[in-house]
Symmetry: C2
Subunit: 394 residues, 2 copies
């Protein structure tokens, strides 16, 4: 870490090299994500070191399981004392199966089937998210007495991938829902929000935190004794644009919170991408390089992995992965990059083509860096007859 | 079928009802595609009845396996004498395993690994697609003597889902590739194109066929004795907008071809969506209905299925599925429709909300019609801990 600014990525050179060394030393029949679980541990420790308040209390990490539910990652995080944010019954079963303490597991999806709430309540889950009356009613009926945090909608214009309005409710609804929760016999426990995926620097949290602090203060004024501020995810990974190093980032976010919230008993953070993305790289292969016509200025590079087999986050060209090829250093030119399926939507980078070596050709093995998050489980079961993305833990 | 215009869908009422009756009579723990394989057979027969030339010869159907590779569908189509268009080694293994004749299987993906070409050649596949020099070189090395058809890029402004430039090459390249194929010892066997998915009426093929006919004529002039015109897919399914009935549609397309091509020994068609989409419906459930703020004019309806669990073709709101709810007939209002995952991109209809009953609520069982194509295998392996889309054949 750069001691002066807190920026730069040198702390990850070792782990990336370990994954890339493994890839270089092995052959893969199909695209494969190689994960260094020690790198996950280093990142957990780096984030934890920054998630400390002025009085020494820690913000609790609930790893967002959806980012990568590989059992080796869950097992390691259980050993490190992490909590878990689960999106489904399936994820709760997974983390409990790996030994997670049920008190450290939250059911963070605001969209839950009644039967899944009932099941979660029966196994001992006591903390749930909600953003709507009907969800509170399902919770009251199927998990009576549960603690509930209300997810609020915030504007997040600074994130690389601002979220839609799919989750959360506007501030006028928040007070109604806290009221309704209490009326239904639930515990109105706190608020949650999401600053937006891939928020690269802590300072970008400022506007969002201002909005949430105003809602928090109003709830306190209205007599709700809120206990939990769940700050969600947004912790970034390196995809080519500079990001703040994890400890510095986490420390800055906590400082921004403490400047704005006077009395927050517990803070929870849910890093997903920011915990695992940099711990993995994908081994892939070039299948075809072509030009569509003789006067085209760019080439098409087709890989054996695409949007339907692991790289779904290239949708809208949102996440720009870093490619390592055996011909790096040769002259480069603009390339449209696409997947191997017979689907015309399976194109990853076209509006902003990648610069790749002109010498690249079919059969070349490539590495796609920092693919540890949101790859394996986004992969389709067998679209076009291709197997799902494989994974290996080293 | 409407005897006067050839339009309308009454011939499918029976099969849809059979699927919907089955759904009504069963409970499903997870979203499930129910497929009526007899409806696939009826569609195969309806298309075949139209794919007849003036001299009585038939255009050969190569079912696009990627649309739905369920073994029951493949088995039925094998029994009916269909050929198969395969996108991968996996699909070739599948159809050969179900008894398809290797002479009726084409490897239609223009993006193939050398090892997969070698394998396909070894099992007896002799017909391959290509659109680039490097692909021809891989074919020459790994499938010497193979028959190759060159895919051309055409403009298709009339399709509901126009294809990108991912597949095919411009006309200036076509002659070069036919030449190159011959030089490499391959057989320059024909041309292929794709008019665009979901081309609802045969008349929309006119402009595309004009373009391809000009390329075909030039190739004949330059001495290539082309044997095969592969007209690809584009055969529509009913998603709410009127489409031409299958026999009438196929007959019209053949007539348009014969008006433009003087000497085509063989015509091949690759319906996928047009073969299976209407033969299946998905049983799903409403998980939550909410408003984001008190003054919102629309509601959010969250289902237990979304873009990552089977309804990937709602991307860009391209395919507009038809929903049947137990409250149809009640007053309706505009609804944003989203999936159950903790992913903000998992929203299906927002720019053009659906009109759904205002009385709709969590737990309501719904049916999504005409989902037989491009659903099960697009489904993710386990995103957010949700299982992939299930399927049942009746």
């Amino acid at each position: 870490m750069n001691a002066v600014t807190g920026f730069g990525r040198p702390q990850f050179v070792t782990s990336v090299s370990r994954v890339e060394s493994y890839i270089a030393a092995h052959d893969f029949a199909h695209p494969t994500l190689v994960i260094d679980v020690d790198a996950v541990e280093r990142q957990f420790r780096a984030l934890s070191a920054g998630l400390v308040r002025r009085d020494g209390r820690h913000a609790h990490i609930h790893y967002a399981v959806k980012a990568n539910p590989h059992t080796a990652i869950i097992e390691r995080l259980v050993a490190l004392g992490s909590g878990f944010d689960a999106a489904s019954r399936g994820e709760i079963e997974l983390v409990l199966g790996q030994g997670a303490d049920v008190d450290h597991v939250s059911f963070g999806n605001t969209i839950k089937k009644a039967s899944d709430i009932r099941w979660a309540h029966a196994v001992g889950i006591t903390l749930f998210a909600a953003d709507a009356e009907e969800e509170l009613e399902k919770l009251a009926e199927n998990a009576p007495g549960a603690r509930v945090y209300i997810r609020v909608i915030v504007d997040n214009p600074e994130a690389d991938w601002p979220l839609s309005r799919k989750f959360g409710c506007a501030s006028d609804k928040v007070m109604q829902l806290l009221d309704r929760a209490r009326d239904l016999g639930l515990v109105p426990h706190g608020l949650s929000f999401h600053v937006g995926s891939q928020t690269r620097e802590a300072r970008m949290w400022t506007g969002t935190l201002d909005q949430v602090a105003a809602i928090w203060a109003r709830a306190q004024d209205e007599g709700f004794d809120l206990q939990l501020l769940n700050i969600g995810g947004g912790f970034p990974a390196f995809y080519g644009e500079e990001i703040q190093a994890p400890t510095s980032y986490a420390r800055s976010v906590i400082a921004l919170i403490e400047d704005r919230f006077t009395d927050v008993p517990q803070i929870m953070a849910e890093p997903g991408r920011g915990m695992v993305a940099e711990a993995g790289a994908i081994a892939a292969e070039v299948v075809l390089v072509s030009k569509k016509s003789n006067d085209d200025l760019h080439r098409w590079v087709y890989l054996d992995i695409g949007r339907f087999s692991g790289l779904a986050e290239t949708e809208g060209e949102a996440i720009r992965y870093q490619f390592v090829t055996p011909r790096d250093g040769d002259d480069t030119g603009p390339c449209v990059v696409a997947g191997p399926s017979c689907d015309s939507a399976d194109v990853m980078y076209e509006k902003r083509p990648l610069q790749l070596p002109l010498s690249l050709k079919a059969g070349d093995k490539i590495v796609i860096r920092n693919c540890g998050a949101y790859t394996t489980t986004y992969s389709s079961v067998g679209f076009n007859g291709f197997p799902p993305l494989d994974s290996v833990v080293i």
